[in-house]
Symmetry: C2
Subunit: 353 residues, 2 copies
């Protein structure tokens, strides 16, 4: 019996609906696969927790999470309750940084039966490798003066080590795929860090002579996601550019509600975290409208990370078949509720295995 | 006779094809409208000029440009010849900053006969007001260490004055349109400058109680441009976010080749600059494939800026009718060359007036 210890943090908004849905799917995985067990501990941390405790998670929250095999997170943020920069830096970004989850992997692809938001688009299938530990997301900076003279300064900080690491990861991934890496840059406008980014990309690419490379400025690249997504295989991007590109990737798939993500710790010292691309969407909370596919596909990435690739593939097949049958939520053209989609995925999973 | 003195800078790549095309249209405007004259002086500045002179424009380039009523620019950048951060900061960004062109206005809308890149999208019609003088585009920063330890630091700098000015402009524009302003933020990830951005947005919006407001994080907003562009009226964005959003806006319209832009000097001390959203696209230079509509629509914005709104509207009507007839370049589904599209716009202009 292989047991995986999972810390689940539903978080805010629809996180509280889609995480339980995905856990139900994991229970079915246990049913099917006699040799697997998921020990799930749920932590009610998030904006409501903040209201009571003036912090997003307990003082020893990281100490608690540290011992798990993985963290399974829904979504964080509810600006009506806690300012976003506080809620995110205390919880989501805090975990990413403290647990050295330096890479964020985010796939996007077409599915049979799911019309892309794009007109007449060809099939596409790409993965964005997002640098997840530094760059534009930084606490360095501050404000000077007050009132009409106030000036805010933000430092973006790119290290050779962090940049190289993300790029190397992207190239190795491309080698297992279609051998192409696109670098998201903006060296024409962002004067210091982006020419540096280009320089590292050039150096890393020299070690992968078989991999085709290209660089594109983020503005043109964002447009290319809309006009010709089929031309991408692996895209490597900074923290901010990766964030933006993956929401566009999710949108062209059909909805931000279906895109999965994995925050990967690469040195084995801390757990990785699995968290879909979409946000907490407090406006649709409690209506049963939330698309659970993003969170369930994210669970699939967690299974892959555990090395349980066979059942992970079966789970993806189940998702594909439910999408093909059109038993989906409103955001992607269906009428089903969160629970109905989840039930159907569970049933399909039982059938494909 | 009203005479406007225009400095034309075709720049690099397809800039050298679309600027002459748009100037031909301006000549037709003169023909039609007996009382108007455009005195155009062309300056061959750009990456090829750099090869010869080790600079993108002459020492006294700004002094030369200063006396014109407007600058009409194609596109700058050819990374095979000059690194992008040099070519852009010495020419395009240099002009924007030195001439205090603090606002960049960039409309996007659907056209009859032009299918959007989006499936089943409703008609949309929005304008992005891009802060054009500060923010993420900054020379402040640098690198420390060398080799494997190298670290690059980029300062984004937002002043109260610059931020307020862009927002006020957006609200005043919205008052003439559909009374809605969306703020592009990222205060959940960008720790210092974006909460500041939100704070200024809140303050400015208090002065426009009739205008409906919303703020959306840049990732979700970029996705919304793809999934529900019809819900936007005016969007106000920082320099970088505005840059990214307007390429997406251009892409959903059908092609980056048709989107126009205006870099506005607001204090009357220096000329404004008119330059389309698209880049220099050196890969398609000289093939007659470049879409001239972006540059010609940009000329329309220049006419508006001169206060020649009647002929400006007629020019837009001519563009609309050419698009409706499908006499367009390949990027938007036609077979016509740059010259054929331009000829057709000139002919339509003669007909509508
Ligand atoms: C060429 C580049 C520096 C420029 C920018 O980023 O401002 C361009 O993309 C634009 O949008 O005008
Ligand atoms: C919530 C926010 C801080 C976060 C990010 O920007 O990283 C989210 O958008 C994501 O993509 O995981």
């Amino acid at each position: 019996m292989k047991t995986y210890k999972i810390a689940s943090i539903p978080g805010d908004g629809i996180g509280k609906e889609v995480v339980p849905a995905a856990i139900r799917v994991l229970r079915e995985v246990e049913n099917i696969h006699g040799g697997l067990k998921f020990e799930v501990s749920e932590y009610p941390w998030g904006s409501e927790y903040y209201l009571e405790h003036q912090q997003m998670m307990p003082e020893d929250g990281l100490g608690t999470l540290k011992h798990f095999d993985a963290i399974f997170l829904g979504a964080v943020g509810n600006p009506d309750i806690v300012p976003d920069h506080i809620s995110l830096w205390e919880l989501l970004i805090n975990i990413r940084r403290s647990f050295e989850q330096v890479i964020n992997i985010r796939p996007a692809r077409t599915f049979a039966g799911l019309s892309s938001k794009l007109a007449n688009s060809e099939d596409f299938d790409f993965i964005v490798v997002r640098e997840n530990s530094e760059g534009e997301y930084s606490e360095a900076g501050g404000t000077i003066h007050q009132g009409g003279d106030k000036v805010a300064i933000q430092n973006a900080i790119f290290s050779r080590k962090g940049t190289e690491r993300a790029m190397k990861f992207a190239f190795e991934l491309a080698e297992q795929r279609r051998n192409k890496v696109t670098s998201a840059t903006k060296s024409n406008g962002i004067y210091h860090t982006m020419p540096f980014w280009d320089e590292v990309f050039k150096d890393v690419s020299d070690n992968f002579p078989e991999v085709q490379t290209e660089k594109e400025h983020i503005d043109a690249l964002a447009a290319s996601f809309v006009t010709r997504p089929e031309r991408f295989d692996v895209i490597v991007a900074s923290n901010l550019f990766g964030d933006i590109l993956t929401d566009i990737g999710a949108a062209i798939m059909g909805s931000v509600g279906i895109a999965p993500a994995a925050n990967i710790n690469m040195n084995g010292k801390y757990p990785s975290m699995f968290e879909p691309v979409h946000g907490s969407a407090p406006d649709i909370e409690g209506k049963g409208m939330a698309n659970p596919i993003g969170q369930i596909w994210t669970a699939k990435m967690m299974l892959d990370h555990f090395g349980e690739t066979e059942i992970a593939d079966q789970l993806l097949t189940a998702i594909e078949s439910v999408i093909r049958k059109g038993i989906v939520t409103q955001d992607i053209g269906g009428k089903a509720t969160t629970t109905e989609v989840t039930d159907e995925i569970i049933q399909q999973l039982a059938e494909v295995t």
